[in-house]
Amino acid sequence: MSAFGSIGCDPSVTRAITPVASPLDVWAESHGAVCCRLDGFPCDPGVLAETILSPGERAHWLSMRAVEKRRREWLLGRCAAKQAVSLLLEKRWNMRLSSQEIEIVPDGYGCPQVKLNGTGSPPPGRLPHVSIAHSDGTAVAMAACDPLGVDLESLSRRGEDFESIAFSADERALRAHLPAEWALRMWCAKEAVGKALGRGLSAGLLAFHITRADAETGAIQVETARQSFTVYTARESNFVFSAMIYQQGAVLMRPSRQEILDYLLHKLGELAQDWDYTDPIRPESLLFTELGYGSLEAVVLCTAIQEHYQTPMPFAELLAEIGQQQRDLSINELTDFVDTHLAGAAGADGGTRRIQ
């Protein structure tokens, strides 16, 4: 059943009703996903809201205090999302649900979650995932069986001035060799990874680092502290799109001991700036007597290390042991500790890890 039910709609605005083999559709199809793009409202927004929204969603839409543009974008995004989920359910499990039976509700972090209210359901653990984006009157949604992220930006709106905040010096150097639209592609790639991981860009823009961009295939490599993701990007008419599906088996990069040491020296250098420590920090430097660390500084450092490698490590035990033995901790010893526990974490899950 179409998400638009029996209402009359303008097929020129929806690729879902009259599929066009756009690069994004082809990519979605080849990855077991369903993409729906709407370039405008298929009918009067009020009628559309009545037709496709569940009672709860309708109440939310009616009570939104936002400007009309924002309310329309929200509705258009919901419309695209319901259509994408509806098509995926039909394609994968031959399930036919009305749009009102497919609810899209945000989780605690604002990430859209699919809730099905009709009869029948996909196999346990296979509830569809959906991601939504909108810009300049166009909405795109993609649904798949794994967490995913999709984004789009209009080329007509943006200059390049956002690059100094959005990208690191390395990323800007990479962008300099590519056509101007790649600034937006790189931005969209970061957004897609943030959405797929479920927390958006809240970790900070520089927590998502772009290491490679392939102008021929549109692929952009985005790395977080421990994982590397390939994000697909494409330009269609006046928009750039990005999409990424977070499938099982995303590569866990096991850093070498030298890489861990480099990271720790870099991090300690960063923290030392905050704490006015000016002497050079070496692998032999002692954390407490030389660098002047106290308990709070140690907590900050341990937290930063765990966040960076997204792996819990028994720092409390390490620090308690050091306290009991009344000794200090060198950066070399800290490096060995992190190296040992990262090796354990990689071994425990067969070399792969999922953040969610």
Partner: protein, 196 residues
Amino acid sequence: MPDMSETEVFEKFAQIVAKSLRVDAGQVHMDTHLTDLGAESLDLIEITMETETQFHIFLPDKSILETAVEVFGPDVLEKDGYLTEAGKQLMLRRMPEADAQAFAGEVAIKDLQHYFLKVSTWVRMVQGLAHYTPAACAACGGPMVSSQGFRMKCSKCGQEITLRSGEELNREWVREYYDREYHPQAGTPVSAAAVQ
């Protein structure tokens, strides 16, 4: 710019928002949320850059909660998308103007965007940071002008200063809160709860 009143900051900030989001400045009020005006992530970057330029300040790139989570560690202030009791206390301490009732019961992290993206939150943040931007040179009293990056230069004697970043000030506030209110016995052994 230590002497800017809240009204002055608001009027200037409302113009920036209106221009960036292409809305009428009359639609921007202290209790308006930027997302309700249609702001998306790139719009927020544009607003951030223009605000930094016009007010000579250096805005934080993370919310106070995200900075606090880095200091406190995972699952202490937020867990599974919701604020913990410790998280609620920190937010109330940071935003005394917030309605305590709003922090009763479960508070989803996504709902905090209502505070972080509220015009009044930005205005107070800008006003607070502008306080650290001198209008006159400490050495000779000459007028300060923008220099490279986040530096300012005296147009008379050439003395340069580096502006304090919002991130640095937020981090200081969180550390002070951690020491004085959350973990007042500074220097005691690090507890397992605080680290893991």
